[in-house]
């Protein structure tokens, strides 16, 4: 189905900003940072039942270079934090971050010396999800929040 046939002789106008936001918000490719049991729920989120493809996020990219949103799913040790930060730095801008579950958000039940008490200690988190582990619907909700956030950002200014 070509663009010409849909539009016929007509045309439409928009702004580059709106077009960019529309494109970005409907192709948010996640970087799955599965560290613990939350990763299982993250798999359900990507699978057919909960179907992240409805939001254009079905491609979990295992390369940080191709992804837009990092989903930190699970508890993060000090040892792992360095690897996570490194992968985060390898992701191209613009990028977003979801802290999935109680452990990634606050340390959760792991109140001990080896676990970072919340990944926001070293990552700029956009959306926090509560739950232990959260249901896939919560992750879909977080994704929609990210989409809302993208739609509110000013892409042209962001690039300058």
């Amino acid at each position: 189905m070509s663009f010409d046939r849909v539009m016929g002789e007509g045309f439409f106008t928009t702004t580059v900003d709106a077009l960019t936001k529309w494109g970005r918000s409907n192709a948010v490719w996640p970087m799955p940072m599965g560290l613990a049991c939350c990763a299982i729920e993250m798999m359900a989120f990507a699978g057919p039942k909960y179907d992240a493809a409805r939001f254009g996020s079905e491609v979990l990219r295992f390369s940080p270079r191709q992804s837009d949103v990092m989903i930190v799913a699970g508890w993060c040790t000090y040892k792992m934090s360095h690897a996570i930060r490194r992968i985060w730095d390898q992701m191209p801008d613009p990028k977003w971050c979801i802290a999935m579950g109680a452990c990634a958000s606050t340390g959760g039940m792991h109140r001990c010396y080896g676990v970072v008490q919340g990944v926001d200690n070293f990552l700029p988190v956009d959306v926090y999800i509560s739950g232990c582990p959260p249901r896939p619907e919560s992750l879909l909700n977080a994704l929609m929040r990210i989409q809302d956030k993208i739609k509110e950002e000013q892409t042209i200014k962001l690039d300058s």
């Binding site: 000090y78 360095h82 996570i84 930060r85 490194r86 730095d89 001990c112 010396y113 080896g114 008490q117």
Partner: protein, 167 residues
């Protein structure tokens, strides 16, 4: 588990240790034998060579936080021939936390002893490679000691830079 076999093995161990067997009790149904520190190596050798405990399942410590004989180190031994599970226990003082290594008897003791060293700071003499196993080399504390705070010492473990490094 055959308790007759257990008794037979225990009797042999009693004869070997004599007065150096400090205490014997059963945890669940497994015998826990407290013995004097200086008999540890030869008892382990006896357990392996004579009583056929060829499998060292685990070595672990506890911190009782007492003024004397503060630490306990357990050796969890299994006899695959007799289906027996024995625990040897030695007490270690805080001022001189040194034990002989049993690495030359059981290869599996290597990492287990490193873990006990990492968590409690108990040194194992004769260990081939006594380094920290979980925590960074420059970590100054022993986290499973009772005086160590639950959430750790702030700043003792490094967090990554929040600005990208260009290397």
């Amino acid at each position: 588990m055959n308790s007759e076999t257990t008794e037979k093995l225990l009797q042999k161990l009693r004869e070997f240790l004599g007065d150096d067997l400090v205490r014997l009790y059963y945890d669940y149904k497994y015998p826990v034998i407290t013995l004097k520190r200086d008999r540890l190596t030869e008892t382990c050798r006896f357990m392996k060579d004579e009583l056929h405990f060829i499998y060292l399942n685990d070595v672990f410590g506890t911190d009782r936080f007492t003024s004397e004989d503060r630490f306990e180190v357990f050796y969890h031994l299994i006899s695959l021939r007799d289906h027996q599970r024995f625990f040897l226990k030695v007490l270690v003082d805080e001022n001189n936390p040194v034990l002989p290594s049993v690495c030359d008897l059981w290869k599996s003791a290597n990492w287990n002893e490193r873990e006990v060293y990492d968590m409690y700071g108990i040194h194992f003499e004769g260990h081939p490679d006594l380094r920290r196993i979980f925590l960074p080399e420059d970590f100054k504390y022993y986290p499973l000691r009772k005086e160590f705070p639950l959430l750790g010492v702030p700043g003792s473990l490094e967090l990554p830079n929040t600005t990208p490094d260009h290397d």
